[in-house]
Amino acid sequence: MKYLILLLLLLPSIACADPAQDEARAQKLFSEVRCVQCQSESIQDSDAAIAADMRREVRADIAKGMSDAQIRTSLYDHYGDYVLFRPRLTKSNLILWALPPLIALIGAGLLFARRKTPENSITSSLSAEERKKLQELLKKHD
């Protein structure tokens, strides 16, 4: 197990040797970093000079052998939360990250728990005549 973790930790540095991989990492990071002076554009998409500077910064960090997580942290230290298009997983962002999957999971759980409940279709709010009319109407189209 220890060796596995060690291997996983080493993997990024092994990958660093390959310039094509470096470029792919750089492009992926560019798409996650907001250009601080532009309107909701990543530094990948922006033509602005500051975006070019930030791209250079990220490339330099990759060349130094920093991991993606380290680069994100250094960007955060430099520019704050605003610069990261992928919000950090913090206490105040917990709802943002956890609520959608929770809805799916809890909802699925509820559905599963109630699966045996017999069908309980209510048409009794209609009078007998109305129900007949409804049936006729629906029959024509089924």
Binding site: S40, S92, N93, I95
Partner: protein, 649 residues
């Protein structure tokens, strides 16, 4: 004079809408008056809108809105589309569509029970009065200027584009279409009737609005793709999300309404979604105008109007949901069903769509709330949605083909899976072959493969469902109802879209560098040579045309791209015009941006060159989906027509 007529008609429309609501509210035989009022209101507001279009097309700068957003040199199409290119004009467009839908309830709703129809008209009247009132008193596009200026200030050049000219009307036909569903939902809650027939009456409206919204969003994405020059088509920008949220809600609604119609279940949930779809539409309208968002799309920012819109949103949605909370538990006791059945799978689809909707909602509003409550700035962008939204939707899409092969009430899951085995095998094979050709980090190769699998699975599974329906006999193709083909097209279109989005997202390559005449840049299997620049005068701009020859590996000329840089003297604005060369599925995309000096010290331009594989599928898929909606709708109308004719005979 003519402008005063428009102004007067807008006032009339406001009064008619109020009257429409009041006559239903008073009742006692006055109710039928609402029908006439709804027609009169629609005619008035359409006259008013026609007057605005007239003012734009003749460049009548005595109208403040025309002065601010038009110019005599503009081509006629963009003069006309300028009528809805501003906040005021787009509000009038919104009102015109809103009141027209009201008139359509009167015209097409003859077969509905009178109580429900009149109550829906009443609610529609209230909505109409609120929005026409807002337009009339706070954002009147027909306000005059004295003295009239001789020349206008022009429209933003980025908005002078055919796709964008038709984008707002399509989008609004969708947004506002949900107002009818909202009105019917409120009417049913007041009336105290929620039954299968209600779902049947509401479905055509949902289908129509959903189809328009699909088209509108696609046009917007296409515009962002080829006009903004950044090579992408969807940025998870708040304004884009604002149009995507009602779409997700409406997609869930479309499916839950089917369950309600067929099985008399999910009633409260369907009504809830009906209220939600229009609430999100109104929220979109509010967010874009509130000044709360920074976006490439936001326009006409004015906090004061934003607050007014927020009040309208709060009152309408608030009272709708309050009514729902009080009435729904009484009206719609939860009917449940067998765990393996078409309806159960559709419930699962609704659940996953809701979770996906929740992620878009949070991603859009979280930064705004954090800013407002804690004064903290933060960003939520594509990586968040890829991590949260995409897995949820992937689950929903993997279930989809299974759902279409399950039968109602009690289905045979094993049988359905067996029947789908071949389709799944085909999808896996296609995905594996596709992934072999893609090289990237391991994780992204896996995601790429999964994405391809989802896309091919949707298409193959849908074809399998079609084959099951016709029992593998071509002679039965005609027997299947149009609505079924609508479903097939919509689901296959979704698969096409997924394939495009996955391939484009992973395999898009680009290069950006300064280039001078004579320079060559290499990208993928293409070489692009910059030949030089020529000048070309346009109608209301001067263009510098760049000439680029793109050759493939064998040296064959694939495309002579001519991107432009246009200078609009009227607004003193520079605009880059993208050159698109399209291979059957792949786009070669060239942008010539600001002048720049190359590494060799020669004067040139900053040039971006993209190869966007399969990008056309991203726009073609949703077109298929909308076409599916229309097919399904025409089937329904046919059925409604038949029912109405028989009823009369």
């Amino acid at each position: 004079m003519i402008n005063e007529i428009g102004d007067y008609c807008l006032m009339l429309a406001f009064c008619f809408s109020l009257g429409q609501a009041a006559s239903v509210g008073i009742g006692r035989g006055l109710g039928r008056w609402a029908e006439g009022m709804s027609l009169a209101a629609a005619v008035s507001v359409l006259i008013s809108f026609a007057v605005l279009i007239h003012a734009f097309s003749v460049s009548d700068f005595s109208v403040a809105n025309v002065y601010q957003h038009s110019h005599t040199d503009k081509p006629l199409l963009y003069k006309i589309s300028g009528a809805w290119g501003s906040h005021e004009g787009s509000m009038l467009l919104w009102c015109s569509i809103l009141l027209s839908y009201g008139a359509l309830i009167t015209l097409l709703g003859r077969g509905l029970p009178e109580g429900l129809r009149l109550k829906a008209l009443g609610v529609q009247g209230l909505l109409g009065a609120a929005f026409v009132g807002f337009t009339l008193f706070s954002s009147n596009p027909l306000d005059r200027l004295d003295p009239a200026p001789v020349q206008g200030l022009s429209l933003n050049p980025a908005l002078q584009d055919p796709a964008l000219a038709f984008h707002p009307p399509m989008l609004y036909l969708g947004y506002v279409g949900f107002s009818v569903v909202f009105s019917f939902a409120v009417a049913a809650l007041i009336e105290g009737r929620l039954d299968r027939a209600w779902a049947r009456w509401v479905r055509p409206w949902v289908l129509a609005a959903w189809s328009f919204l699909t088209l509108g969003i696609t046009l917007g994405a296409f515009w962002a793709y080829y006009e903004l020059g950044w090579g992408g088509w969807w940025a998870w920008d708040p304004v884009e999300n604002a149009s995507f949220m009602p779409w997700l809600a409406a997609t869930a609604l479309l499916h839950s309404a089917i369950v309600m119609e067929k099985r008399d279940a999910l009633k409260a949930w369907t009504v809830f979604l009906g209220l939600l779809a229009f609430t999100f539409s109104m929220m979109g309208a509010f967010l874009v105008r509130s000044g709360l968002l920074t976006s490439v799309h936001a326009f006409a920012l004015d906090p004061a109007r934003g607050i007014l819109l927020a009040i309208i949103l709060f009152i309408t949605a608030g009272s709708g949901f309050a009514l729902f909370a009080v009435r729904a538990p009484v009206l719609a006791p939860g009917g449940l069903f067998a765990p393996v059945s078409r309806e159960a799978s559709l419930v699962l689809n609704n659940l996953l769509l809701s979770a996906a909707l929740c992620s878009v909602f949070l991603g859009t509003l979280y930064p705004i709330l954090m800013q407002a409550l804690f004064d903290k700035t933060m960003s939520v962008g594509a990586p968040y949605y890829m991590a949260v939204f995409a897995p949820i939707m992937t689950a929903a899409l993997l279930i989809l083909p299974v759902s279409t092969l399950l039968s109602w009430k009690r289905a045979d899951l094993k049988g359905a899976l067996q029947r789908l085995a071949v389709a799944f095998g085909v999808a896996v094979l296609a995905a594996v072959i596709g992934t072999v050709f893609y090289h990237g980090p391991f994780l992204s190769e896996m995601i790429f493969g999964l994405g391809l699998l989802v896309g091919f699975w949707l298409i193959a599974g849908t074809i399998r469902a079609l084959l099951a329906r016709i029992d593998f006999k071509a002679s039965r193709l005609r027997a299947a109802p149009l609505a079924f083909y609508g479903m097939v097209l919509a689901h296959a279109g979704l698969g096409v879209f997924v394939l495009g989005a996955v391939v484009e997202g992973h395999e898009r390559i680009s290069v950006q560098q300064p280039m001078a005449a004579g320079d060559t840049v290499h990208l993928g299997r293409y070489d692009m040579r910059f030949k030089g620049v020529s000048s070309k005068p346009g109608k209301n701009y001067d263009a510098q045309v760049g000439h680029f020859d793109i050759t493939d590996a064998s040296g064959r000329l694939v495309c002579a791209a001519q991107p432009q840089r246009r200078f609009y003297p009227a607004s003193n604005d520079m605009q880059s015009k993208v050159a698109l060369c399209f291979q059957p599925l792949t786009d070669l995309y060239v942008v010539m941006a600001q002048p720049s000096v190359t590494a060799q010290g020669k004067a040139g331009y900053q040039v971006r060159f993209f190869v966007n594989p399969w990008v056309r599928l991203i726009f073609f898929g949703p077109l298929l989906m909308a076409l599916g909606g229309v097919l399904s709708l025409s089937d329904q109308r046919l059925r409604l027509g038949v029912a109405a004719r028989r009823a009369r005979a």
